[in-house]
């Protein structure tokens, strides 16, 4: 607060600062002043920087998964099993059957000759470390696809509603209201279990189900974004010069309205991954043994009476999932502060 109350002195330093001889970088020129403020705002608080670092680490893990945990067999997304015994094995227990290639970093780092179950195995001898590393790919894959699709649906419905107004607006927004009434996880659960007999067990049923029940928020935000821009002079100018409705909407209005929503949406990946993990924790989605965090965690459900002995089937995958979601939430929180006009100039 203190620097805000500086009184302009004779040398007019304050005035000079706001003059245009301030250097304007290429990024600011490209994004425009408002969007530039958003982007720089994201890199200012320590919380969001921690968030970015977390996200970056997970991106690296996803990219270098084959080196961190070399795959066994044809399908790397299948968690390799060390036998079929039911009882989980603690971290560090030796790998007996079906041994994968030892990763390059293991020997120099630990000095061990034999590749072990670094984080233990779950029931059915699924290797937890492998599941976590390759599960990162599943997380990004589902997160990105679901977010992009929901945003596209939201943009189409929200912008149509806002631009045309009248009964179109009314119809679309009432449909949105109805979808909003339904409980998200329950409906996603139900829809994906209806889809599973049709599409088979894969990532698709839960993804489609999540998309079906999560576009409403974006439709609402984009609608209000556009409503606020629709009345600007440049839209009127475009109308007066006879530009077609569709073109005005997609070439003139959307590019000016959409940026904050896009950034906010991309940070929704954390929530999507959380929902997806919840669904596969409940036993919906991929085949048993697919590298997916929720799936690994769901193994713990059969061991709740002895979780104190088998803590590693909860703690490691749970921690991974939490850190992933937290990375996105930290950045998202900073983003909300930047976008919220009430917070401007604060914190």
């Amino acid at each position: 607060m203190t620097e805000m109350t500086t009184i302009p002195t004779g040398d007019n330093q304050l005035l000079n600062e706001t003059q245009s001889d301030r250097k304007i970088g290429w990024l600011e020129r490209f994004l425009g002043p408002d969007n530039y403020r958003i982007v720089t705002g994201l890199f200012k608080t320590p919380a969001s920087i921690i968030g970015f670092i977390l996200i970056f680490i997970f991106i690296l893990i996803a990219i270098f998964a084959p080196m961190i945990a070399p795959p066994v067999g044809n399908d790397p997304m299948k968690i390799p099993r060390d036998g079929f015994s039911g009882e989980p094995q603690p971290p560090g227990s030796p790998w007996d059957k079906n041994v994968p290639e030892m990763p390059f970093w293991y020997k120099p780092l630990t000095g061990n000759e034999q590749w072990v179950h670094l984080l233990g195995t779950a029931q059915g001898q699924y290797d937890i470390f492998y599941g976590i590393i390759w599960g990162t790919r599943t997380a990004f894959q589902t997160g990105i696809i679901v977010v992009i699709t929901t945003v596209v649906i939201g943009v189409i419905l929200g912008s149509t509603a806002a631009y045309y107004g009248g009964w179109v607006d009314n119809l679309i927004m009432r449909i949105t209201d109805i979808f909003m009434t339904l409980p998200y996880i329950m409906m996603a659960l139900i829809f994906s279990s209806v889809l599973t007999p049709i599409l088979g067990r894969s990532l698709l049923p839960p993804m489609i189900a999540m998309i079906t029940f999560s576009w409403m928020g974006y439709a609402r935000i984009i609608r209000s974004d556009i409503l606020s821009i629709k009345e600007r002079d440049f839209v009127l100018a475009a109308k007066a010069s006879g530009v077609k409705n569709g073109r005005i909407l997609f070439k003139h209005i959307l590019p000016n309205a959409i940026f904050p929503t896009l950034v906010l949406a991309s940070l929704g990946i954390g929530d999507v991954v959380l929902g997806f993990a919840a669904l596969s924790f409940l036993g919906i989605g991929t085949e048993i043994g697919y590298a997916d965090w929720g799936q690994v965690l769901s193994f713990a459900r059969n061991w709740i009476t002895s979780l104190n002995r088998y803590w590693y089937i909860v703690v490691y995958p749970g921690l991974t999932l939490t850190l992933f979601v937290m990375g996105w939430n930290l950045v998202g929180d900073a983003m909300r502060d930047v976008l919220d006009p009430r917070m401007r100039g604060k914190s």
Partner: protein, 355 residues
Amino acid sequence: MTNYIIRRLLLVPVLLIGITLIIFGMLQLLGPVERSALYVVDFPRNDKQIEGLIRKYGLDDPFFVQYWRWLAGVEDPVTGERDGGILFGDFGYSRTASQDVIDIIKSRFPNTLDLALWTIYPMLSVGIWMGVKAAVNQNNIIDQAARIYSIIGTSFPTFVFGLLLLMLLYANNQWFLPGKMSPWVDQLIRSDEGFRQITHLLSIDALLNLRFDVFWDALRHMIMPIITLSYISWATFVRVTRSSMLETLRMDYVTTARSKGLKERDVINKHARPNAMLPVVTMMGSSIVGLLGGVVITETVFNYPGIGKAAADAAAQLDVVTILGLAIFTGFILILSNLVVDILYAFIDPRVRLS
């Protein structure tokens, strides 16, 4: 006010039609053959019989004909008996649970209510209290702690939190238990030893029967789900309360109250907080409604036999009839409780009923 209530009531049939259409539409994604398999106990092997079934139940009729039949059922022209029809409470037969879906609902819903009843108070009070504390102490250590808590809280997956609780409070020393009741309570209820089930909510029944040992047992089973549900809601309540309270504290009337020389405690408790509560009340409504709809993940983690657990079990076994029946029921509950919440909200905030 009456005007508002009437307008709000008119919305109910629209919501009902919308929700039933969505759920029926999901069912229609399956082909007629798959759908005939859902309702018949011994499914015939040859194609002709399957075709007969499809014709008998009209599974290839136009969408809206089937939709109406699904809603209202078919009345037998001779006996006048009604077959099916979710509007008349026939949600179908659950094959995985070997009972009618309506019976599942009857036995499970009281448990969900029981849990919701005990969760509401801790969920609301603590979250709001933390949010107000954070806003009053803006930017100092309490505020920072509340913000960090709200980020961690929203990032912590419910089921991971639940599993950790089970690990610490159950697997280690059996302080608190998963499930609904201990075997001896179950026996007591089934036997005729004078335990009257008045409300079918176990904790309330225990109190009414003055059986405090049963009450304690019920609480021991509910504490972990209560902690889990409260914990996630607190994170969002803290955030909403804090920002609403911060905004209110900047209002002119708060400055006026302060300049009148009121004690800071009175300024906050009597002038700022009631006005900051409006957005929080909206959220309270939706959280309570959410609790009533059955909390799928929490109930599943703790093996708590409510509506949510029933839905999760049916979904995992791909029992489409049961899931859709439960979904419809949940939809009805949500529409009703939303209605109540909206009308109550209009009493609190005059702006709602005048708009």
